[in-house]
């Protein structure tokens, strides 16, 4: 902006003539309610299509996972501990390089996040 603005005059008070003029314009336009005339219908047509899957999908998926985890915990006592122990032995005995470990972790992460994203996506 290269406009050289004039210094504010004494009339630049909250109640000056421009404020009154703007307020009058608002008052006049306040009565001008814009009729819908099909506007809402056009907006609703422009909305993205609804989800193919219902909205209750997310809590159902979570509940199913919880049930599956609970069943595993009940039916296979001690299995998780044995798996962890075997995994530790495997890792302790085998000279895995850091890059291999990182690759495996990345693959597990990608698989987990992809599965979660597919299961929980809304759009």
């Amino acid at each position: 902006m290269n406009v050289n603005l004039p210094a504010p005059s004494r009339s630049d008070t909250p109640g000056d003539w421009l404020d009154r003029l703007l307020a009058r314009e608002i008052t006049e336009q306040g009565g001008d309610y814009i009729a819908d005339d099909g506007f809402t219908a056009r907006v609703m047509q422009a909305l993205p299509a609804p989800d193919a899957l219902p909205a209750w999908r997310q809590p159902v998926v979570v509940a199913l996972w919880l049930i599956a985890a609970a069943l595993l915990a009940i039916t296979l006592p001690g299995t998780a501990q044995e798996l962890a122990r075997d995994a530790f032995r495997l890792f302790a005995a085998q000279p895995f390089s850091l890059s291999t470990i990182a690759l495996v972790l990345a693959a597990i992460g990608i698989a987990t996040w992809t599965g979660a994203a597919i299961a929980l996506r809304r759009d």
Binding site: P6, S11, L22, I26, G31, D32, D36, F39, M44, L47
Partner: protein, 203 residues
């Protein structure tokens, strides 16, 4: 703006909840019906009376509102949130279609020199009618830079507080006050013929 609409039976927050929880499009349609007038009027002001463009931007505003309803944290009124989206739509469009949106539709004055802020060549006789004043005001408003026009429209036309206008415009409150002050100074120059202190209204 929407003052003539009947008082809503179901609050906006409840309709929003229905949209979010149950993907209830009827609830959203009710929200659109309630707020379409104020949003369209705001955009008509911002687009300097271009009704077709204002309606297109209004439609974009509500579609964006639907898409981003989850991000509405109720830190402001729903109408204020809609103004924010509408203003952003207008600003985005204004950058794309600079000439069409900014300035008078007959002239391409945006950042005009101070001389351009002199009153238009209307005669004192023209000022008798209230509609002339309205046209003069609209023309003067249309010639304001984007930020100043947006601030004036939010604070005066939409009757928002400086804090609410800052939320809508996404800038600090002090910046809003500066834009309003500068805009009003330019409007005073452009509308000097309407100042009551002048004995003769000849520009």
């Amino acid at each position: 703006m929407a003052a003539q609409a009947a008082p809503p039976e179901v609050p906006d927050t409840q309709l929003i909840a229905r949209c979010l929880i149950g993907d209830d499009r009827h609830a959203f349609a009710e929200l659109v019906k309630r707020h379409q007038s104020s949003v369209r009027a705001c955009l008509r002001k911002l687009t300097a009376g271009n009704h077709a463009l204002a309606d297109d931007l209004s439609q974009d505003t509500f579609v964006l509102a639907w898409r981003n309803l989850k991000s509405f944290r109720q830190e402001a009124r729903f109408s204020t949130w809609l103004y924010r989206i509408a203003t952003n739509c207008w600003l985005t469009q204004a950058r794309k279609r600079h000439d069409e949106l900014l300035g008078d539709r007959d002239t391409d004055v945006v950042d005009a020199d101070a001389d351009d802020w002199a009153p238009s060549g209307t005669t004192s006789g023209d000022h008798a009618a209230g509609t002339t004043m309205k046209i003069d005001l609209e023309r003067a408003l249309a010639r304001l830079p984007v930020a100043e026009r947006a601030a004036i429209v939010q604070c005066y036309h939409n009757d928002l507080s400086h804090e609410e206008a800052a939320y809508v415009l996404g800038c600090p409150v002090g910046t809003v006050k500066t834009h309003v002050l500068r805009g009003k100074q330019k409007l005073k120059i452009a509308l000097a013929a309407w100042a009551p202190s002048q004995s003769t209204r000849t520009p």
